[in-house]
Protein backbone atom coordinates (compact mmCIF):
# COMPACT_ATOMS: atom_id res chain seq x y z
CA UNK A 1 0.00 0.00 0.00
CA UNK A 2 1.46 3.36 -1.02
CA UNK A 3 1.79 5.61 1.97
CA UNK A 4 1.11 9.29 1.58
CA UNK A 5 3.22 11.71 3.59
CA UNK A 6 2.97 15.46 3.85
CA UNK A 7 6.19 17.12 2.71
CA UNK A 8 7.62 20.40 1.56
CA UNK A 9 8.70 20.40 -2.07
CA UNK A 10 12.35 21.00 -1.24
CA UNK A 11 12.34 18.13 1.26
CA UNK A 12 10.66 15.83 -1.24
CA UNK A 13 13.57 16.39 -3.64
CA UNK A 14 16.06 15.51 -0.91
CA UNK A 15 14.26 12.36 0.22
CA UNK A 16 13.66 11.23 -3.36
CA UNK A 17 17.35 11.70 -4.16
CA UNK A 18 18.35 9.56 -1.19
CA UNK A 19 15.83 6.90 -2.21
CA UNK A 20 17.26 7.04 -5.72
CA UNK A 21 20.62 6.03 -4.28
CA UNK A 22 22.32 9.44 -4.11
CA UNK A 23 24.80 9.52 -1.22
CA UNK A 24 26.73 12.69 -2.05
CA UNK A 25 25.35 16.19 -1.66
CA UNK A 26 27.30 19.45 -1.93
CA UNK A 27 25.71 22.87 -1.52
CA UNK A 28 25.96 26.42 -0.31
CA UNK A 29 23.19 28.23 1.59
CA UNK A 30 20.71 30.25 -0.47
CA UNK A 31 17.01 31.03 -0.22
CA UNK A 32 14.54 29.52 -1.24
CA UNK A 33 16.09 26.04 -1.34
CA UNK A 34 17.51 25.89 2.20
CA UNK A 35 15.21 23.08 3.38
CA UNK A 36 16.83 20.77 0.85
CA UNK A 37 20.33 21.26 2.24
CA UNK A 38 19.04 21.11 5.82
CA UNK A 39 17.32 17.79 5.08
CA UNK A 40 20.51 16.39 3.56
CA UNK A 41 22.60 17.63 6.50
CA UNK A 42 20.33 15.67 8.84
CA UNK A 43 19.94 12.51 6.83
CA UNK A 44 23.21 11.87 5.01
CA UNK A 45 25.38 11.21 8.10
CA UNK A 46 22.80 8.66 9.33
CA UNK A 47 22.98 6.58 6.16
CA UNK A 48 26.70 6.69 5.48
CA UNK A 49 26.34 9.47 2.93
CA UNK A 50 28.21 12.72 2.46
CA UNK A 51 26.76 16.15 3.16
CA UNK A 52 29.26 18.93 2.66
CA UNK A 53 28.58 22.65 2.92
CA UNK A 54 31.05 24.03 0.42
CA UNK A 55 32.82 27.38 0.59
CA UNK A 56 30.98 28.56 -2.52
CA UNK A 57 28.65 27.44 -5.29
CA UNK A 58 31.72 27.18 -7.47
CA UNK A 59 33.39 24.77 -5.08
CA UNK A 60 30.15 22.80 -4.63
CA UNK A 61 29.71 22.13 -8.35
CA UNK A 62 33.37 21.15 -8.64
CA UNK A 63 32.96 18.69 -5.77
CA UNK A 64 30.01 17.32 -7.76
CA UNK A 65 32.37 17.04 -10.75
CA UNK A 66 34.81 15.07 -8.58
CA UNK A 67 32.22 12.56 -7.37
CA UNK A 68 30.68 12.28 -10.84
CA UNK A 69 34.16 11.41 -12.16
CA UNK A 70 34.12 8.36 -9.91
CA UNK A 71 30.83 7.18 -11.39
CA UNK A 72 28.63 7.65 -8.33
CA UNK A 73 25.31 9.47 -7.98
CA UNK A 74 25.80 13.04 -6.82
CA UNK A 75 23.83 16.26 -6.63
CA UNK A 76 23.87 19.90 -5.70
CA UNK A 77 21.07 22.40 -5.23
CA UNK A 78 20.82 26.15 -5.29
CA UNK A 79 18.70 29.05 -6.43
CA UNK A 80 19.16 31.39 -9.37
CA UNK A 81 22.18 33.58 -8.37
CA UNK A 82 23.93 30.48 -7.05
CA UNK A 83 23.18 28.53 -10.20
CA UNK A 84 24.82 31.30 -12.23
CA UNK A 85 27.99 30.67 -10.20
CA UNK A 86 27.82 26.98 -10.99
CA UNK A 87 27.77 27.48 -14.75
CA UNK A 88 31.52 27.07 -15.24
CA UNK A 89 31.45 23.72 -13.48
CA UNK A 90 28.32 22.61 -15.32
CA UNK A 91 30.01 23.30 -18.64
CA UNK A 92 33.01 21.17 -17.58
CA UNK A 93 30.71 18.37 -16.41
CA UNK A 94 28.85 18.48 -19.73
CA UNK A 95 32.15 18.61 -21.64
CA UNK A 96 33.45 15.60 -19.72
CA UNK A 97 30.22 13.60 -20.32
CA UNK A 98 29.47 13.06 -16.65
CA UNK A 99 26.07 12.48 -15.06
CA UNK A 100 24.82 14.47 -12.07
CA UNK A 101 21.77 16.34 -10.81
CA UNK A 102 21.62 20.10 -10.33
CA UNK A 103 18.52 21.52 -8.65
CA UNK A 104 17.53 25.14 -9.26
CA UNK A 105 14.69 26.39 -7.05
CA UNK A 106 14.31 29.61 -8.98
CA UNK A 107 13.88 33.10 -7.55
CA UNK A 108 13.46 36.44 -9.27
CA UNK A 109 16.34 38.09 -11.10
CA UNK A 110 18.52 39.39 -12.66
CA UNK A 111 21.31 40.12 -10.18
CA UNK A 112 20.49 39.49 -6.58
CA UNK A 113 16.86 39.90 -7.66
CA UNK A 114 14.50 38.76 -4.94
CA UNK A 115 13.63 35.62 -3.04
CA UNK A 116 10.13 35.11 -4.42
CA UNK A 117 9.32 32.47 -7.06
CA UNK A 118 10.32 32.87 -10.67
CA UNK A 119 10.84 30.96 -13.91
CA UNK A 120 13.25 33.43 -15.41
CA UNK A 121 16.17 30.98 -15.58
CA UNK A 122 14.45 29.12 -18.43
CA UNK A 123 16.95 30.36 -21.03
CA UNK A 124 19.92 29.57 -18.79
CA UNK A 125 18.64 26.06 -18.07
CA UNK A 126 17.48 25.04 -21.53
CA UNK A 127 19.93 26.77 -23.86
CA UNK A 128 23.17 25.75 -22.20
CA UNK A 129 23.88 28.30 -19.47
CA UNK A 130 27.63 28.03 -19.46
CA UNK A 131 30.08 28.31 -22.36
CA UNK A 132 30.25 25.95 -25.29
CA UNK A 133 28.00 23.61 -27.26
CA UNK A 134 25.95 21.62 -24.77
CA UNK A 135 22.55 20.94 -23.29
CA UNK A 136 21.26 19.76 -19.96
CA UNK A 137 18.32 17.43 -19.53
CA UNK A 138 15.83 19.78 -17.83
CA UNK A 139 12.77 18.60 -15.91
CA UNK A 140 10.15 20.95 -14.46
CA UNK A 141 7.97 19.70 -11.60
CA UNK A 142 4.60 21.31 -10.92
CA UNK A 143 3.71 19.51 -7.70
CA UNK A 144 5.47 18.16 -4.63
CA UNK A 145 4.79 14.67 -5.99
CA UNK A 146 6.66 15.58 -9.15
CA UNK A 147 9.51 17.09 -7.13
CA UNK A 148 10.07 13.54 -5.92
CA UNK A 149 9.29 11.65 -9.12
CA UNK A 150 11.30 13.87 -11.44
CA UNK A 151 14.32 13.82 -9.11
CA UNK A 152 14.48 10.09 -9.57
CA UNK A 153 13.85 10.33 -13.32
CA UNK A 154 16.53 13.01 -13.71
CA UNK A 155 19.17 10.78 -12.08
CA UNK A 156 18.21 7.87 -14.34
CA UNK A 157 18.23 9.88 -17.57
CA UNK A 158 21.45 11.64 -16.64
CA UNK A 159 23.22 8.33 -16.14
CA UNK A 160 21.66 6.69 -19.18
CA UNK A 161 22.91 9.40 -21.53
CA UNK A 162 25.91 10.72 -19.55
CA UNK A 163 24.42 14.20 -19.68
CA UNK A 164 24.03 16.37 -16.55
CA UNK A 165 20.40 16.91 -15.54
CA UNK A 166 18.72 19.93 -14.01
CA UNK A 167 15.55 19.96 -11.99
CA UNK A 168 14.12 23.41 -12.61
CA UNK A 169 11.68 24.20 -9.84
CA UNK A 170 10.51 27.48 -8.39
CA UNK A 171 10.21 28.93 -4.92
CA UNK A 172 6.48 28.17 -4.69
CA UNK A 173 6.73 24.44 -5.26
CA UNK A 174 9.88 24.36 -3.18
CA UNK A 175 8.13 25.88 -0.19
CA UNK A 176 4.63 24.40 -0.39
CA UNK A 177 3.49 21.26 1.38
CA UNK A 178 1.49 18.54 -0.33
CA UNK A 179 0.89 14.85 0.17
CA UNK A 180 3.43 12.77 -1.68
CA UNK A 181 3.94 9.06 -2.27
CA UNK A 182 7.63 8.24 -2.22
CA UNK A 183 9.14 5.39 -4.16
CA UNK A 184 10.71 2.46 -2.34
CA UNK A 185 14.25 3.32 -1.33
CA UNK A 186 16.99 1.46 -3.11
CA UNK A 187 20.57 1.27 -1.97
CA UNK A 188 23.19 2.79 -4.21
CA UNK A 189 24.19 0.22 -6.76
CA UNK A 190 27.71 0.78 -7.93
CA UNK A 191 28.63 -0.71 -11.24
CA UNK A 192 32.15 -0.21 -12.56
CA UNK A 193 31.98 2.23 -15.46
CA UNK A 194 34.44 2.07 -18.33
CA UNK A 195 35.12 5.79 -18.02
CA UNK A 196 35.16 6.45 -14.26
CA UNK A 197 38.28 7.16 -12.22
CA UNK A 198 38.49 4.56 -9.48
CA UNK A 199 42.17 3.62 -9.65
CA UNK A 200 43.66 1.35 -12.32
CA UNK A 201 44.48 -1.42 -9.78
CA UNK A 202 47.30 -2.05 -12.23
CA UNK A 203 44.83 -3.91 -14.43
CA UNK A 204 43.83 -1.42 -17.10
CA UNK A 205 44.95 1.71 -18.92
CA UNK A 206 44.40 4.88 -16.96
CA UNK A 207 41.08 6.65 -17.33
CA UNK A 208 41.12 10.38 -18.01
CA UNK A 209 38.11 12.58 -17.26
CA UNK A 210 38.63 15.65 -19.38
CA UNK A 211 37.04 18.31 -21.53
CA UNK A 212 40.24 19.62 -23.15
CA UNK A 213 40.75 18.82 -26.84
CA UNK A 214 43.42 21.04 -28.36
CA UNK A 215 43.10 19.49 -31.82
CA UNK A 216 40.03 21.15 -33.36
CA UNK A 217 39.12 18.06 -35.37
CA UNK A 218 38.95 16.06 -32.15
CA UNK A 219 36.84 18.65 -30.34
CA UNK A 220 34.45 18.87 -33.27
CA UNK A 221 34.14 15.10 -33.37
CA UNK A 222 33.49 15.00 -29.64
CA UNK A 223 30.75 17.62 -29.94
CA UNK A 224 29.12 15.82 -32.86
CA UNK A 225 29.15 12.58 -30.88
CA UNK A 226 27.54 14.33 -27.91
CA UNK A 227 24.86 15.83 -30.11
CA UNK A 228 23.99 12.37 -31.38
CA UNK A 229 23.14 11.53 -27.79
CA UNK A 230 21.15 14.76 -27.53
CA UNK A 231 19.21 13.67 -30.61
CA UNK A 232 18.46 10.33 -28.95
CA UNK A 233 17.19 12.23 -25.91
CA UNK A 234 14.97 14.40 -28.11
CA UNK A 235 13.65 11.29 -29.84
CA UNK A 236 12.94 9.25 -26.72
CA UNK A 237 12.65 11.32 -23.57
CA UNK A 238 10.14 14.12 -24.21
CA UNK A 239 7.55 14.25 -21.46
CA UNK A 240 4.50 16.48 -21.21
CA UNK A 241 0.95 16.52 -19.93
CA UNK A 242 -2.12 17.23 -22.09
CA UNK A 243 -5.02 18.70 -20.14
CA UNK A 244 -8.48 19.10 -21.74
CA UNK A 245 -6.84 19.24 -25.15
CA UNK A 246 -9.06 16.80 -27.07
CA UNK A 247 -11.53 19.37 -28.36
CA UNK A 248 -9.59 22.52 -27.53
CA UNK A 249 -9.68 25.62 -29.73
CA UNK A 250 -6.96 27.35 -27.72
CA UNK A 251 -3.91 25.90 -26.04
CA UNK A 252 -2.22 27.24 -22.94
CA UNK A 253 1.44 26.27 -22.60
CA UNK A 254 2.84 26.49 -19.09
CA UNK A 255 5.13 24.58 -16.73
CA UNK A 256 5.73 24.43 -13.01
CA UNK A 257 3.64 26.68 -10.79
CA UNK A 258 2.42 28.65 -13.83
CA UNK A 259 0.79 25.44 -15.09
CA UNK A 260 -1.04 25.01 -11.78
CA UNK A 261 -2.46 28.51 -12.02
CA UNK A 262 -3.27 28.02 -15.70
CA UNK A 263 -5.24 24.83 -15.10
CA UNK A 264 -7.67 26.81 -12.93
CA UNK A 265 -8.00 29.33 -15.75
CA UNK A 266 -8.64 26.53 -18.27
CA UNK A 267 -11.39 25.06 -16.09
CA UNK A 268 -12.96 28.50 -15.63
CA UNK A 269 -12.74 29.22 -19.37
CA UNK A 270 -14.55 25.96 -20.09
CA UNK A 271 -17.30 27.02 -17.63
CA UNK A 272 -17.65 30.20 -19.64
CA UNK A 273 -17.94 28.25 -22.89
CA UNK A 274 -14.43 28.63 -24.27
CA UNK A 275 -12.84 25.40 -25.42
CA UNK A 276 -9.39 25.74 -23.89
CA UNK A 277 -6.82 23.09 -23.13
CA UNK A 278 -3.29 23.06 -21.77
CA UNK A 279 -0.02 21.42 -22.67
CA UNK A 280 2.40 21.29 -19.79
CA UNK A 281 6.01 20.53 -20.70
CA UNK A 282 7.47 18.22 -18.04
CA UNK A 283 10.80 18.08 -19.82
CA UNK A 284 11.82 21.61 -20.84
CA UNK A 285 14.78 20.16 -22.67
CA UNK A 286 13.96 18.15 -24.68
CA UNK A 287 11.04 20.49 -25.36
CA UNK A 288 7.75 18.93 -26.52
CA UNK A 289 8.01 20.49 -29.98
CA UNK A 290 6.11 17.71 -31.70
CA UNK A 291 3.16 17.89 -29.30
CA UNK A 292 2.84 21.63 -29.92
CA UNK A 293 3.22 21.22 -33.68
CA UNK A 294 0.41 18.64 -33.58
CA UNK A 295 -1.73 20.95 -31.46
CA UNK A 296 -1.19 23.74 -33.98
CA UNK A 297 -3.17 21.70 -36.51
CA UNK A 298 -6.14 21.77 -34.13
CA UNK A 299 -6.13 25.05 -32.20
CA UNK A 300 -6.52 28.66 -33.29
CA UNK A 301 -3.88 30.07 -30.99
CA UNK A 302 -1.47 29.49 -28.10
CA UNK A 303 -0.93 31.29 -24.85
CA UNK A 304 2.43 30.91 -23.11
CA UNK A 305 2.05 31.56 -19.38
CA UNK A 306 5.32 32.23 -17.60
CA UNK A 307 6.89 33.77 -14.51
CA UNK A 308 9.37 35.69 -16.66
CA UNK A 309 9.36 38.45 -19.23
CA UNK A 310 8.75 35.73 -21.83
CA UNK A 311 11.36 33.03 -22.40
CA UNK A 312 9.62 29.73 -23.16
CA UNK A 313 7.33 31.65 -25.52
CA UNK A 314 10.20 31.67 -28.02
CA UNK A 315 10.30 27.87 -28.04
CA UNK A 316 6.53 27.71 -28.42
CA UNK A 317 6.73 30.00 -31.46
CA UNK A 318 9.52 27.90 -32.95
CA UNK A 319 7.59 24.68 -32.31
CA UNK A 320 4.47 25.92 -34.11
CA UNK A 321 6.60 27.64 -36.73
CA UNK A 322 4.44 30.80 -36.62
CA UNK A 323 1.48 28.85 -38.02
CA UNK A 324 -0.74 30.15 -35.21
CA UNK A 325 -0.63 33.27 -33.05
CA UNK A 326 1.28 32.78 -29.81
CA UNK A 327 0.40 35.21 -27.03
CA UNK A 328 2.13 35.71 -23.72
CA UNK A 329 0.79 36.04 -20.19
CA UNK A 330 3.61 37.01 -17.90
CA UNK A 331 4.47 38.11 -14.40
CA UNK A 332 8.01 38.56 -13.22
CA UNK A 333 10.24 39.60 -10.33
CA UNK A 334 8.61 37.16 -7.91
CA UNK A 335 4.99 37.94 -8.82
CA UNK A 336 2.56 35.17 -9.78
CA UNK A 337 -0.38 35.69 -12.12
CA UNK A 338 -3.89 34.89 -10.91
CA UNK A 339 -6.16 32.50 -12.87
CA UNK A 340 -8.19 35.62 -13.81
CA UNK A 341 -5.18 37.20 -15.48
CA UNK A 342 -4.66 34.03 -17.52
CA UNK A 343 -8.37 34.00 -18.38
CA UNK A 344 -8.24 37.63 -19.51
CA UNK A 345 -5.22 36.86 -21.70
CA UNK A 346 -7.11 33.92 -23.19
CA UNK A 347 -10.12 36.11 -23.97
CA UNK A 348 -7.86 38.68 -25.58
CA UNK A 349 -6.18 35.96 -27.67
CA UNK A 350 -9.55 34.51 -28.71
CA UNK A 351 -10.87 37.96 -29.62
CA UNK A 352 -7.78 38.76 -31.64
CA UNK A 353 -7.60 35.39 -33.35
CA UNK A 354 -11.25 35.41 -34.35
CA UNK A 355 -11.43 38.98 -35.54
Amino acid sequence: MDKKVLMKGNEAIAEAAIRAGCRHYFGYPITPQTELAAYMAKRMPKIGGVFLQAESEIAAINMVYGVASTGRRVMTSSSSPGVSLKQEGISYIAGSDLPCLIVNVQRGGPGLGGIQPSQSDYFQATKGGGHGDYHLIVVAPSSVQEMADLTSLAFDLSEKYRVPAMLLADGTIGQMMEPVVLSEPHDPVFTEKDWAVTGTKGQREHHIVNSLYLVPEELEKKNFERFERYQAIEDNEVRYERFMMDDADYCVVAFGIAARVSKNAVVEARKQGMKVGLIRPITLWPFPKQALAEAAKQVKGFLSVELSMGQMVEDVRLAVNCSRPVALCRRTGGMIMSPDEVLDALKKLAGGAES
Partner: protein
Protein backbone atom coordinates in the same frame (compact mmCIF):
# COMPACT_ATOMS: atom_id res chain seq x y z
CA UNK B 1 71.30 -4.51 -12.73
CA UNK B 2 69.04 -1.57 -13.40
CA UNK B 3 70.42 1.53 -11.68
CA UNK B 4 68.03 4.10 -13.12
CA UNK B 5 64.61 3.70 -14.65
CA UNK B 6 61.47 5.65 -15.37
CA UNK B 7 58.94 5.48 -12.51
CA UNK B 8 55.99 3.16 -13.24
CA UNK B 9 53.65 6.03 -12.43
CA UNK B 10 54.80 8.01 -15.44
CA UNK B 11 53.57 7.14 -18.94
CA UNK B 12 55.81 7.04 -22.01
CA UNK B 13 54.33 10.29 -23.32
CA UNK B 14 56.88 12.93 -24.23
CA UNK B 15 56.69 15.95 -21.92
CA UNK B 16 55.81 19.26 -23.58
CA UNK B 17 57.66 21.41 -21.04
CA UNK B 18 60.28 23.97 -22.12
CA UNK B 19 63.99 23.24 -21.81
CA UNK B 20 65.16 23.96 -18.27
CA UNK B 21 61.64 23.86 -16.80
CA UNK B 22 61.54 22.00 -13.51
CA UNK B 23 58.04 20.53 -13.97
CA UNK B 24 59.70 17.37 -15.31
CA UNK B 25 61.66 16.90 -12.07
CA UNK B 26 58.56 17.48 -9.96
CA UNK B 27 56.48 15.05 -12.06
CA UNK B 28 59.17 12.48 -11.48
CA UNK B 29 59.29 13.08 -7.72
CA UNK B 30 55.51 12.68 -7.47
CA UNK B 31 55.62 9.48 -9.54
CA UNK B 32 58.49 8.12 -7.44
CA UNK B 33 56.57 8.78 -4.26
CA UNK B 34 53.53 6.95 -5.64
CA UNK B 35 55.71 4.03 -6.77
CA UNK B 36 57.66 3.86 -3.50
CA UNK B 37 54.46 3.74 -1.46
CA UNK B 38 52.94 1.14 -3.80
CA UNK B 39 49.74 3.14 -4.38
CA UNK B 40 49.85 3.53 -8.18
CA UNK B 41 46.81 1.28 -8.61
CA UNK B 42 44.65 3.38 -6.29
CA UNK B 43 46.03 6.82 -7.07
CA UNK B 44 43.82 9.44 -8.74
CA UNK B 45 45.37 12.75 -9.80
CA UNK B 46 43.75 16.07 -10.57
CA UNK B 47 45.43 18.22 -13.21
CA UNK B 48 45.21 22.03 -13.18
CA UNK B 49 44.87 24.71 -15.82
CA UNK B 50 48.29 26.14 -16.57
CA UNK B 51 51.54 24.61 -17.79
CA UNK B 52 50.70 21.26 -16.19
CA UNK B 53 47.28 21.12 -17.87
CA UNK B 54 48.27 17.98 -19.73
CA UNK B 55 49.66 16.22 -16.65
CA UNK B 56 46.85 13.71 -17.21
CA UNK B 57 48.85 12.40 -20.16
CA UNK B 58 52.01 11.99 -18.09
CA UNK B 59 50.81 10.35 -14.88
CA UNK B 60 49.91 6.71 -15.43
CA UNK B 61 47.22 6.66 -12.75
CA UNK B 62 43.58 7.68 -13.29
CA UNK B 63 43.37 11.44 -13.88
CA UNK B 64 40.77 14.20 -13.87
CA UNK B 65 41.22 17.59 -15.52
CA UNK B 66 39.85 20.39 -13.34
CA UNK B 67 38.76 23.91 -14.22
CA UNK B 68 41.25 26.67 -13.37
CA UNK B 69 41.80 26.74 -9.61
CA UNK B 70 39.14 24.16 -8.75
CA UNK B 71 41.38 21.13 -8.30
CA UNK B 72 41.08 21.02 -4.49
CA UNK B 73 37.26 21.01 -4.77
CA UNK B 74 37.36 18.30 -7.45
CA UNK B 75 39.79 16.29 -5.32
CA UNK B 76 37.47 16.75 -2.34
CA UNK B 77 34.64 15.17 -4.33
CA UNK B 78 36.81 12.27 -5.48
CA UNK B 79 38.18 11.60 -2.00
CA UNK B 80 34.72 11.80 -0.37
CA UNK B 81 33.48 9.32 -2.95
CA UNK B 82 36.48 6.98 -2.76
CA UNK B 83 38.07 7.46 0.69
CA UNK B 84 40.37 4.46 0.25
CA UNK B 85 42.00 5.85 -2.89
CA UNK B 86 44.98 8.20 -2.87
CA UNK B 87 44.00 11.56 -4.34
CA UNK B 88 46.40 14.34 -5.27
CA UNK B 89 46.29 17.64 -7.10
CA UNK B 90 49.12 19.18 -9.09
CA UNK B 91 48.72 22.96 -9.41
CA UNK B 92 50.63 26.07 -10.37
CA UNK B 93 50.70 29.44 -8.62
CA UNK B 94 48.05 31.19 -10.69
CA UNK B 95 45.78 28.18 -10.32
CA UNK B 96 46.26 27.59 -6.60
CA UNK B 97 47.06 31.01 -5.15
CA UNK B 98 44.98 33.31 -7.37
CA UNK B 99 41.83 31.99 -9.00
CA UNK B 100 41.67 28.93 -6.74
CA UNK B 101 42.60 30.58 -3.45
CA UNK B 102 39.20 29.91 -1.87
CA UNK B 103 39.23 26.23 -2.85
CA UNK B 104 42.80 25.87 -1.52
CA UNK B 105 42.16 27.54 1.83
CA UNK B 106 38.92 25.69 2.46
CA UNK B 107 40.24 22.26 1.49
CA UNK B 108 43.08 22.99 3.94
CA UNK B 109 40.85 24.18 6.74
CA UNK B 110 38.57 21.14 6.31
CA UNK B 111 41.74 19.05 6.48
CA UNK B 112 40.64 17.08 3.43
CA UNK B 113 42.73 13.96 3.32
CA UNK B 114 44.39 14.82 0.01
CA UNK B 115 47.91 15.68 -1.16
CA UNK B 116 48.51 18.98 -2.96
CA UNK B 117 51.61 19.61 -5.04
CA UNK B 118 51.94 23.35 -5.52
CA UNK B 119 54.44 24.49 -8.13
CA UNK B 120 55.53 28.07 -7.47
CA UNK B 121 57.55 29.55 -10.34
CA UNK B 122 56.43 33.14 -9.72
CA UNK B 123 54.84 33.55 -13.14
CA UNK B 124 51.98 32.45 -15.42
CA UNK B 125 53.82 30.15 -17.80
CA UNK B 126 51.20 28.72 -20.15
CA UNK B 127 49.75 32.08 -21.15
CA UNK B 128 53.18 33.57 -21.82
CA UNK B 129 54.60 35.13 -18.67
CA UNK B 130 52.11 37.33 -16.84
CA UNK B 131 52.45 38.48 -13.24
CA UNK B 132 51.48 35.73 -10.80
CA UNK B 133 50.23 36.09 -7.21
CA UNK B 134 53.71 34.86 -6.27
CA UNK B 135 55.75 37.16 -8.58
CA UNK B 136 58.40 38.90 -6.52
CA UNK B 137 58.34 42.65 -5.80
CA UNK B 138 60.02 44.35 -8.73
CA UNK B 139 59.78 41.28 -10.95
CA UNK B 140 59.36 42.18 -14.61
CA UNK B 141 56.64 40.22 -16.39
CA UNK B 142 54.41 40.78 -19.39
CA UNK B 143 51.77 42.43 -17.19
CA UNK B 144 54.22 44.13 -14.84
CA UNK B 145 56.58 45.52 -17.51
CA UNK B 146 58.05 48.09 -15.08
CA UNK B 147 58.45 45.49 -12.35
CA UNK B 148 55.84 44.41 -9.81
CA UNK B 149 54.94 47.59 -7.96
CA UNK B 150 53.66 46.55 -4.55
CA UNK B 151 51.82 49.89 -4.22
CA UNK B 152 49.44 48.94 -7.01
CA UNK B 153 49.85 45.18 -7.44
CA UNK B 154 50.26 44.23 -3.80
CA UNK B 155 52.65 41.72 -2.32
CA UNK B 156 53.33 38.11 -3.27
CA UNK B 157 51.27 35.47 -1.50
CA UNK B 158 53.29 33.26 0.79
CA UNK B 159 51.12 30.17 0.58
CA UNK B 160 53.01 27.89 2.97
CA UNK B 161 53.15 30.54 5.71
CA UNK B 162 49.51 31.49 5.22
CA UNK B 163 48.11 27.95 5.27
CA UNK B 164 50.23 26.92 8.23
CA UNK B 165 48.40 29.55 10.29
CA UNK B 166 45.21 27.47 9.96
CA UNK B 167 44.25 24.85 12.53
CA UNK B 168 43.06 22.44 9.84
CA UNK B 169 45.89 21.21 7.64
CA UNK B 170 48.12 18.30 8.65
CA UNK B 171 51.28 19.15 6.78
CA UNK B 172 52.59 22.24 5.00
CA UNK B 173 56.11 22.41 3.59
CA UNK B 174 58.16 24.33 1.05
CA UNK B 175 60.93 22.78 -1.00
CA UNK B 176 62.93 23.69 -4.11
CA UNK B 177 64.26 21.66 -7.03
CA UNK B 178 67.21 23.78 -8.18
CA UNK B 179 70.06 21.63 -6.83
CA UNK B 180 70.75 17.96 -6.15
CA UNK B 181 70.51 18.59 -2.43
CA UNK B 182 67.19 20.39 -2.77
CA UNK B 183 65.76 17.76 -5.11
CA UNK B 184 66.65 14.98 -2.66
CA UNK B 185 64.96 16.87 0.14
CA UNK B 186 61.94 17.59 -2.06
CA UNK B 187 61.63 13.89 -2.79
CA UNK B 188 61.49 13.03 0.92
CA UNK B 189 58.97 15.79 1.65
CA UNK B 190 56.67 14.87 -1.26
CA UNK B 191 56.80 11.24 -0.19
CA UNK B 192 55.86 12.33 3.33
CA UNK B 193 52.89 14.27 1.97
CA UNK B 194 51.56 11.09 0.35
CA UNK B 195 52.38 8.97 3.41
CA UNK B 196 50.29 11.37 5.49
CA UNK B 197 47.29 10.67 3.30
CA UNK B 198 47.80 6.91 3.60
CA UNK B 199 47.93 7.37 7.38
CA UNK B 200 44.73 9.42 7.30
CA UNK B 201 46.37 12.54 8.72
CA UNK B 202 44.73 14.92 6.27
CA UNK B 203 45.57 17.87 4.05
CA UNK B 204 49.23 17.90 3.04
CA UNK B 205 50.60 20.60 0.76
CA UNK B 206 54.10 20.81 -0.65
CA UNK B 207 55.04 24.12 -2.25
CA UNK B 208 57.80 23.51 -4.77
CA UNK B 209 59.86 26.55 -5.75
CA UNK B 210 60.38 25.98 -9.42
CA UNK B 211 62.11 27.57 -12.43
CA UNK B 212 60.59 29.07 -15.58
CA UNK B 213 63.61 30.04 -17.71
CA UNK B 214 61.45 30.78 -20.77
CA UNK B 215 59.27 33.39 -19.13
CA UNK B 216 61.93 34.65 -16.76
CA UNK B 217 64.07 35.32 -19.85
CA UNK B 218 67.06 33.40 -18.48
CA UNK B 219 69.19 30.44 -19.38
CA UNK B 220 68.22 27.29 -17.47
CA UNK B 221 71.42 27.59 -15.45
CA UNK B 222 70.80 31.21 -14.49
CA UNK B 223 67.19 30.39 -13.63
CA UNK B 224 68.36 27.85 -11.07
CA UNK B 225 70.74 30.46 -9.63
CA UNK B 226 67.91 33.01 -9.50
CA UNK B 227 65.96 30.57 -7.31
CA UNK B 228 68.85 30.61 -4.80
CA UNK B 229 69.43 34.35 -5.03
CA UNK B 230 65.90 35.75 -5.23
CA UNK B 231 63.20 33.15 -4.71
CA UNK B 232 64.39 31.25 -1.65
CA UNK B 233 65.20 34.40 0.39
CA UNK B 234 61.56 35.49 -0.17
CA UNK B 235 60.16 31.96 0.10
CA UNK B 236 62.24 30.21 2.80
CA UNK B 237 62.32 26.44 2.56
CA UNK B 238 61.22 24.18 5.38
CA UNK B 239 58.39 22.30 7.02
CA UNK B 240 55.91 24.92 8.21
CA UNK B 241 53.40 22.65 9.84
CA UNK B 242 53.48 18.98 10.75
CA UNK B 243 50.72 17.60 12.95
CA UNK B 244 52.56 14.29 13.26
CA UNK B 245 55.60 16.02 14.75
CA UNK B 246 53.57 18.28 17.02
CA UNK B 247 51.71 15.22 18.27
CA UNK B 248 55.00 13.43 19.02
CA UNK B 249 56.26 16.50 20.86
CA UNK B 250 53.05 16.71 22.87
CA UNK B 251 53.36 13.03 23.79
CA UNK B 252 57.00 13.49 24.81
Amino acid sequence: MIVFEKPKSLTDAELHYCPGCTHGIIHRLVAEAIDDLGVEGIAIGVAPVGCAVMAYNYFACDMVEAAHGRAPAVATGIKRSLPDNIVFTYQGDGDLASIGMAETVHAATRNENITVIFVNNAIYGMTGGQMAPTSLPGQVTQTSPYGRDVKTAGYPVKVAEMLSALDGPAYIARVAVNSVKNVKNAKAVIRQAFQNQIDGLGFSLVEVVSACPTNWGMTPENALKWIDEKMIPYYPLGVYKDKRESQKEAEA
